[in-house]
Subunit: 340 residues, 3 copies
Amino acid sequence: MTDPRFYTNAGPFSLGEIAQLAKTKLSDDADPGKQIVDVAPLDRAGSDELSFLDNKDYVDVFANSAAGACIVHPEFAARAPRGMALLLTEKPYPAYAHAARAFHPPHRLEPGISPRADIDPEARLGPDCRVESGAVIGSRAEIGARAWIGTNAVIGPGVVMGDDCRVGTGAAIFNSLVGHRVAIYSGARIGQDGFGFAPDPAEHLKVPQLGRVIIGDDVEIGANSTVDRGSGPDTIIGERCMIDNLVQIAHNVQLGPGCVIVAQVGISGSTKIEDYVFIGGQAGLTGHLKIGAGARIAAQSGVMRDIAPGTIMGGSPAVPIRDWHRQNIRLARLAEKKEA
Amino acid sequence: MTDPRFYTNAGPFSLGEIAQLAKTKLSDDADPGKQIVDVAPLDRAGSDELSFLDNKDYVDVFANSAAGACIVHPEFAARAPRGMALLLTEKPYPAYAHAARAFHPPHRLEPGISPRADIDPEARLGPDCRVESGAVIGSRAEIGARAWIGTNAVIGPGVVMGDDCRVGTGAAIFNSLVGHRVAIYSGARIGQDGFGFAPDPAEHLKVPQLGRVIIGDDVEIGANSTVDRGSGPDTIIGERCMIDNLVQIAHNVQLGPGCVIVAQVGISGSTKIEDYVFIGGQAGLTGHLKIGAGARIAAQSGVMRDIAPGTIMGGSPAVPIRDWHRQNIRLARLAEKKEA
Amino acid sequence: MTDPRFYTNAGPFSLGEIAQLAKTKLSDDADPGKQIVDVAPLDRAGSDELSFLDNKDYVDVFANSAAGACIVHPEFAARAPRGMALLLTEKPYPAYAHAARAFHPPHRLEPGISPRADIDPEARLGPDCRVESGAVIGSRAEIGARAWIGTNAVIGPGVVMGDDCRVGTGAAIFNSLVGHRVAIYSGARIGQDGFGFAPDPAEHLKVPQLGRVIIGDDVEIGANSTVDRGSGPDTIIGERCMIDNLVQIAHNVQLGPGCVIVAQVGISGSTKIEDYVFIGGQAGLTGHLKIGAGARIAAQSGVMRDIAPGTIMGGSPAVPIRDWHRQNIRLARLAEKKEA
C-alpha cells in the first residue's frame, strides 16, 4: 500500500474497470468485479492490490508474488502464481502507468498566494495559481493559469510561463519563455548567463549573453539541472523533452521535441539535437555538433562528431555501438594475451 | 591556527592528554605536559600546534615542518625534524580525527525558531530545534530533537526525521523517512519524483512515483546531490552511508550500510548495492544491478553488470581492476608500435 | 534584436565608433556614419545590426547573412554578401565582445535592501549594496561596496567579500574570504565541510574541516557548482578563474590564476593546479596531484598523475593527447580486423 503520509488514493476500482482503462485483456479466470485497492510492487503487493511485470529479470519475483492482480505480457502468463488475476498486454509499462494514474491522479494542491511569497506588483498571474512561502516573482513576469510555484522558487523579471506549470522548491528561472504544462524540478537553474568569454591569460573577456531560454510545452527539467540562456541565439528545449537531474545544457543548445536526457549529461554550446534523441547518463557532447533525429547515445559516451539520424553510439570518443562493443571485446582479449 | 572568524577552540590540551585521547604513543623525548593550542597543517603549524602525516607524498613537508607535535606512523619517525614531539600510531588519520575533534567538537548553534521560518501549525518539532530564517516545514512533518534546519531549507509535508539531524541551507526533503543524526548538505534535493515514464515519440507517459526515500541513521548526503524517491518500492540509503556532492541516486536504488559514494557518481534506477561498497568519483552504474558487499569501483568507471562481493573494478565498461590496468598498458604499447 | 523584456540597449552606435571600440579596421567600402542599433546572430541580424563570424563552420551562414555589418577575419572577407560592412580583425571574438558590451554594458540594478532580506545586526555592508528578497546575511559577515546579493542567497557568519561581488539566487557561501568583482552563480554552494572522514566499516570517523575557501578577485563560479572548504589548509581559487556549472572542487584544492574549468568537472582533494590550466567538461582529477601551468586537459579525461606545464592530455586514464588519438585509431583498426 502506498504510504498515506504522502499519497492519496482515488480507488478502489474493479478489475474490469482497470482492464479497460489500462487497455489490457483480463485473463479468463479472473473476476471482473473484484475490487482492487491500490498498486504496489510485485514483492509487496497483497491480494487486493495490482502490480506489473515489465522486465524479465523479475520473472521469479512475479512467480512468487502475492499480488491479487498483475499487468503482464502474455509470454509470462504461464509463470503466474495460482489465483493471480492477469491483465494481459504487449506493453505492460504504459498499461501500468494508466492504472497507477487512475489510483493516484496528479494531485492539485489548493491554490492561493502565501503571505510569505514576494510577488512584484507588476507581475501578472493567471487564475488559480499556488505560490508558496518564500517564492519570489519578479517585475513584469507573466505566469499562466494554475501554476504551482514552490517554496523559495524564484521567477525572474519578464519571464513568461504558460498554463499549468510547476516550479519546484528553490528552482530559479530567468530570461526565459516557457510553454504550458512545464515542470521545473527542485533546484534547477534556468536562464543564467552561460560560459561565454574570450580566454586570455591576462584577463578573460566576458561576452554579454543576450539570448533567452525557450522551453516548449510538456517539458520536464530535473532537480539541480542547469540550462544556460543563449548568447545571442536562444537556448531551445523542444516540447515534450524529458531532462533528468544534474544535467548541464550550455548556451545556444537546441533540443528537438521529445528528447530524453538522462542524469548528469552535459551538452556543450551550440550543439543541435533533433527529435526524439536518447542520451544516456553522464554522456558528454562537445559544442557545435548536429545530432540526427532518433539517435541514441549510450551512457558515459563522449560525442565529438555529428551523428546521423537513427544511429546508436557508444564509447569515448563515441563510435557506432557495434564498433564500441567490438573494441571492448578486442581490448579484453589483448589484455589476456601473453605479451607479443 | 584555525581562523577565529569561523572556528572556536576547546583547547589547549597537553601532549599527554592528546596522546591518550588519540590512542597514540608519545615519543620518549617528548614532554607530556607541553601545551598544544590547536591543530594545523604540516606546512603552517607552529611550535605549539599539532599536525599529522598520513600520506607518504608529504614526508618532505613533514621533515621540514615547524609543528611542535605530529601524529605519525613509526616508520617515518626518523624523518622528524629535531625537537618535534611525535605521537606514534599505525593509523595516523583516525588518530588525528580524534585530536582535531577534541579541539573543535561539532558545535551546536543556539536552538530557536527564527520568526522568518514558516512552520505549518500541524508540523511537530522535538525539543531544542533550531529553525533558521526562510526555512519552511510542511504540514504533519515530524522532526526529532535538536534538529538544525538551515536557512531557506524545506521539509515537505509528512516527512519524518529522527533526532539530531542537520539540514543545510536551501536543501529540500520530500516524501522521506529519515533516521537519527543524518546530515543533508546545502542544496541537496531528496524525494522528488524520479525519471519514470514510458517513452513515446508522440507523448511520454508519466508513471506516478509512489514510493519514498528511507534514510538510515548517521547518513550524510552532500551538497547539491539528488536522491529521487522510489517509484513504488522505496529508495533506501542504508545507515552510515557517506555520499559526496553532486551525486545522483535514482528511484528504487538501495544502498547497504556504510557505503562511500564520491562526488558526481550516478546510480541508475533499481540498482542494489550491498554493505560498505566504495564508488569513486564520476563513476556511473546502470539500472537493475546488484553490487556485492565490499566491492570497490574506481573513479569514472562505467558499471554495466553485477559485481561480486569484494571485487575491485575499473574502466568503462568496468572490468576487474587488474584487467583494466592490463588493458591500459597494452593499449599504450599498441599506440607506440609502428603500424602493422 | 535582443528581447527588450530582458535587455536594455545603450545603442545606437555608428560603424566608425564600433570599429574603433572593437579595435577593428572598417572595410573601405563601408560608411563609417551608418547607424547600428544592436548586435545579433548571423542568421537573425538585420540590415541595421552587427554580427560576427568566429568559427569557420559557419562561413555559409555568414555568406547568406542579412547583417548590415559583421566582425570577421580578413581571410573570410571575400565570402561576405554584397553590401555587408566588414569590421576586419585577426581576433573576431574579443572584438565582438567589446562591441556587444558597448550595446549591453553589465547592468546595475538599483541598490537597496529588501524588507524581506534578513541581515544580522552584526553584519557590515558597504555602500550601494542590493540585497534581495529572502537573502540571509549572517553575523559578522563583511560585504564590500555595490554587492548584489540575489533572492534567497545566503552569506554565512564571518564571511568576508570584497567590492562589486554578485551572488546569484539561492547560492550559499560559508567559511570563505572572497575577493573583489567575484560572481557566484545561482545555487552554487561554497564553503561547506568536505568529504573528510576515516573510513571504517563499523563507523566512519568524521574529521573536522577547519580551513576556509579563499577566492581571488574576478573569479566566477557557475550555477549549482560546489566548492568545499579546506580541511585545515584552505581551498584556494586563484584570481580570474572561470568555473562553469555543476563543477565539484574538493577540500584543499588550489587553482592558480586564470584557470578555466568547464561544466561537470570534478577535482579531488588537495590537487594543486597552476596558472591558466584548461580543463574540459566532465574531466576528473584524483587527489594530491600537481598540474603544471598552461596544461590543457580534454573533456572526460581521467587524470591520475601529475601533469607537466604546457602539456595537453586526453583519455581516461589520461595520456598525452597525441598518444590518446593514436590509441583511439589503433583500437578502431583492431576492432575492424578479422579475429587473429
